[in-house]
């Protein structure tokens, strides 16, 4: 790099109370480069970018912009210095229109009166630049997560940022949306924008990155070229080598009893006559694009939503519509897509969160079996190697992977026979991800069945025994593990896409 760095961190440290989150980090970001920040959850990536974005302030060290010490004491200061951030948690105001979201805080106006025409024009331009095809007047909450993410990126683009921070922007995107994003990033790179990119997907590192800064436990371990082999990156991140990324093993030796049978399930336009079965000891993957109806399908089966037609049958008979309580008692466990808003009660402790499904079943005369619940929670969190201070720690303070293990732990305690997993490893780092896969193996070894929805194709292919492909509310194909490839799945997933009914 012969250009002078646009951003330089010098010996930056940060601690929260007694915890050192970052120690003595020194690193440069140059114009027109994509610097990938790699590290497990809790390694300090988020804190690092939050300091650049003006949310946190370094305890020691300094941040230089174009060689000058910069005052980044507030988000506003950082933004006016040309630093835009797309955070992991979307910053979308759901009730406002797409256009208003894109231009939030900078709405064009005449003497305080909103200039709708100019707003629409500017917003249209911005969303067109990233190839997002939505009406800018629609409320943002009518869009899916993926599209909301793109709205956020469009907003950052309208800021003409010199430094763009993208915190796991691809986590919620599908393959083609990721391609679109990378195209935009390439264009920004040509224009000389410096970008800091965080992702858990190693294959994206080589595709989009120039250099990779690896963090582990608050230390900057190394800065390596993006062409570094994945195994080496993982070794740097985790501090040990991971042999097998998808350690799927079929070890169940009993009869392949039918555990779950879904027949002709319909819900609005999103689920249109889905039939499927899950047998003891198998993992059934469900692939498809975002919006294909996969989440809705799982929610109907779990009783979270009511459905219009069809039946859901377990070994001991049909399950009532829209009755989560009954589904849970009969052995269904849903690991929802959005663990923070649907999976966990963040303010409650680990022991509480792990114990919700067994609260009633283990009670006597309406009284909680407190001793038993604690003992079982200790046991299951140990088995899942949840990293925490103790079981009374609020689940909010845990990293994403460990939070997800708590959701799994709940169903392990409940003895659920059928697990419905929706994006089970989204936002989960490599180490914890493998531990979750091992837990899936354990479930199927004991004769349970798993129905797994994932947008992470390698995961679907690596962990499933059968792959169902969903497209526009229907199951459009079933592939055995051996014959399923990225290409065969994707061609089914995008085929005959009936756009008009979306």
């Amino acid at each position: 790099m012969n250009l002078a760095p646009v951003l330089r961190l010098e010996g930056v440290s940060k601690s929260f109370g007694p915890v050192n989150v970052l120690r003595q980090v020194t690193l440069d970001v140059h114009p027109g480069e994509v610097l990938v920040l790699l590290g497990e959850n809790g390694a300090g990536k988020s804190t690092l970018i939050k300091m650049i974005a003006g949310i946190h302030h370094p305890d020691a060290g300094r941040i230089l912009l174009n060689g000058e010490p910069a005052d980044l004491s507030s988000v506003h200061m950082a933004e006016s210095a040309g630093i835009a951030t797309i955070h992991q948690e979307l910053n979308i105001v759901g009730s406002l229109s797409v256009a208003e979201n894109v231009l939030l805080g900078r709405l064009p106006n005449r003497c305080g009166v909103l200039d709708r025409k100019r707003m629409r024009r500017a917003a249209c331009e911005a969303v067109a630049r990233i190839g997002l095809d939505v009406d800018v007047d629609t409320p943002a909450d009518s869009l899916g997560v993926a599209q909301q993410q793109l709205v956020e990126i469009a907003r950052a683009l309208t800021l003409d940022a010199r430094i763009l921070i993208l915190d796991e922007p691809t986590a919620a995107l599908t393959g083609s949306e990721i391609d679109d994003l990378f195209t935009i990033m390439d264009e920004l790179r040509r224009r000389g924008t410096a970008m800091i990119f965080i992702s858990h997907h190693l294959e994206e590192v080589a595709r989009i990155g120039d250099r990779v800064a690896v963090l582990r436990d608050g230390d900057l371990i190394d800065i390596v070229p993006a062409s570094t082999p994945e195994d080496e990156l993982v070794r740097l991140m985790v501090g040990r080598a991971i042999e097998d990324h998808y350690p799927r093993r079929r070890e169940y030796e009993g009869a392949p009893d039918l555990l779950l049978e879904v027949n002709g399930l319909c819900r609005g336009a999103r689920v249109r006559g889905v039939s499927l079965e899950v047998r003891a000891g198998e993992v059934v993957g469900v692939a498809g694009l975002v919006g294909a109806g996969r989440t809705e399908l799982l929610r109907c089966i779990a009783g979270a939503d009511r459905y219009d037609a069809g039946t859901v049958t377990l070994r001991d008979g049909p399950v009532g519509k829209g009755n989560v309580g009954q589904a849970v008692m009969r052995g269904i466990g849903l690991v929802p897509e959005d663990r923070k808003n649907q999976g966990l009660v963040l303010g409650a402790s680990v022991v509480e969160n792990v114990g919700y499904a067994t609260l009633r079943s283990t009670s006597r005369a309406g009284l909680v079996d407190r001793k038993g619940q604690r003992a079982r929670a200790s046991e299951v969190t140990k088995r899942l190697s949840v990293r925490m201070r103790d079981i009374d720690q609020p689940v909010r303070d845990l990293s994403g992977g460990n939070q997800q293990k708590c959701v799994f732990g709940r169903w392990a305690l409940a003895g659920s026979r059928v697990l419905l997993l929706d994006e089970p490893t989204r936002g989960v780092d490599v180490g914890a991800r493998v531990e979750i896969y091992e837990f899936i193996n354990e479930i199927t070894r004991a004769g349970g069945g798993v129905l797994m929805v994932s947008s992470d194709l390698p995961e679907v292919l690596g962990m499933s025994d059968r792959v169902l492909v969903m497209n526009n509310g229907r199951i459009v194909g079933e592939l055995a593990a051996e014959e399923a490839t990225q290409d065969s799945v994707m061609s089914l997933a995008v085929r005959d896409l009936d756009v008009s009914t979306l």
Binding site: F16, G17, A302, A304, V324, G325, A327, V328, M329, L334, P336, N341, Q342, G343, L344, V345, L346, G347, A348, E352, Y356, A357, L359, R360, S363, G366, L367, V368, R370, R410
Partner: protein, 328 residues
């Protein structure tokens, strides 16, 4: 501080942790100390008993409110429900000729039923709790006036007992309102901590969707919290009527705000999932101590309202700052 022994430092650290975990309790102690210094009439056994008796109505209302607030709801109707329950009981005795004890039970039942109605309206009827209970505030007060025709009704002995003193050994007496306060608080704490429905309240208040997807009976929990709140309001109303030996049509008006303040001062969050019976008790005591102290000091009635408002704001403000400090 540099010369402190390790044991001293440990003690200081422990004290710091205690203060930050029990902000309201520390506030109560500071308040009592200040009044102890300011006037010799505050810290007497008799006056402290008075504070307990005066705190009882708000405390019982606030215990009921704690269930609702833990489950992320709010019950604005408790003051009116207290009045309705006491008036219903007095009317059953005076006009319908029910025996005193049955009339008392009828009063409690009235509170429970009204709570159930609010509960069904919020859970199955999907009305926001604020609206449903605001409507109930008006309906219950109106029914109180309809029953009483706007006039006080004398209460039977069974209810007056709730406001009386019972003698214990050696001429010492124990006011029944304090007894009711203690029992109501213990029951509240027990339900919240030990029962399935109590733990479910925290889950529902913390995140209703997560609780539902974990298989918890969310609607039943919501109905239960409002039913309990109504029952507690009924009890509070009967204690209030017992103390006066008379059910008043305008009794307990505006008490819902005191009850909510007590719960929040006690460390609960209006966004749900957090709250303890012990904290609520401290909150109710703080309000009672302020009122008692300001009376004893003969502070002008205009300033009393200012002081009470400031103390509520300070208590909650300190709590918010403390929470912010412990999270990053």
């Amino acid at each position: 501080m540099t010369t402190a022994t390790p044991a001293g430092r440990r003690l200081a650290a422990q004290t710091g942790r205690f203060v930050s975990a029990n902000g309201a309790l520390v506030g109560l102690v500071v308040l009592c100390l200040a009044l102890f210094i300011a006037t010799p009439h505050f810290f007497t056994a008799e006056n402290l008993v008075n504070v307990g008796v005066q705190a009882s109505t708000i405390a019982v209302l606030a215990f009921g409110q704690t269930f609702v607030i833990v489950a992320a709801g709010i019950d604005l109707s408790v003051g009116s429900v207290a009045a309705l329950a006491s008036m219903a009981a007095a009317w059953m005795y005076a006009d319908a000729g029910l025996p005193g004890l049955l009339a008392l039970l009828a009063g409690l039942l009235t509170g429970l039923v009204v709570g159930l109605v609010s509960g069904f309206a919020t859970s199955y009827g999907k009305l926001p709790a604020f609206i449903a209970t605001l409507a109930m505030l008006s309906v219950a007060r109106g029914l109180t006036l309809v029953i009483s025709d706007g006039r006080p009704i004398s209460t039977p002995d069974a209810i007056s007992f709730l406001g009386s003193d019972i003698p214990i050994a050696g001429g010492v007496t124990l006011p029944v309102p304090i007894l009711v306060l203690i029992v109501a608080g213990l029951v509240c704490s027990f339900v919240l901590n030990r029962t399935v429905i109590g733990r479910s309240m925290y889950a529902v208040g913390g995140n209703i969707e997560s609780a539902r997807l974990a298989g918890l009976p969310v609607k039943r929990v919501l109905v239960t919290v409002f039913a309990l709140s109504g029952l507690y309001a009924g009890l509070a109303g009967l204690v209030l009527a017992g103390r006066l030996s008379s059910a008043q049509p305008q009794a307990a008006s505006g008490y819902e705000l005191d009850a909510i303040a007590a719960v929040v001062i006690g460390g609960a969050s209006l966004s749900g999932g957090v709250g303890k019976a012990s904290g609520t008790l401290v909150g109710a005591l703080i309000l009672a101590v302020i009122r008692n102290g300001l009376n004893i000091l003969n502070v002008s009635s205009f300033w009393q309202q200012v002081v009470i408002g400031l103390v509520i704001a300070a208590a909650v403000g300190i709590d918010v700052l403390r929470r912010k400090d412990t999270r990053h």
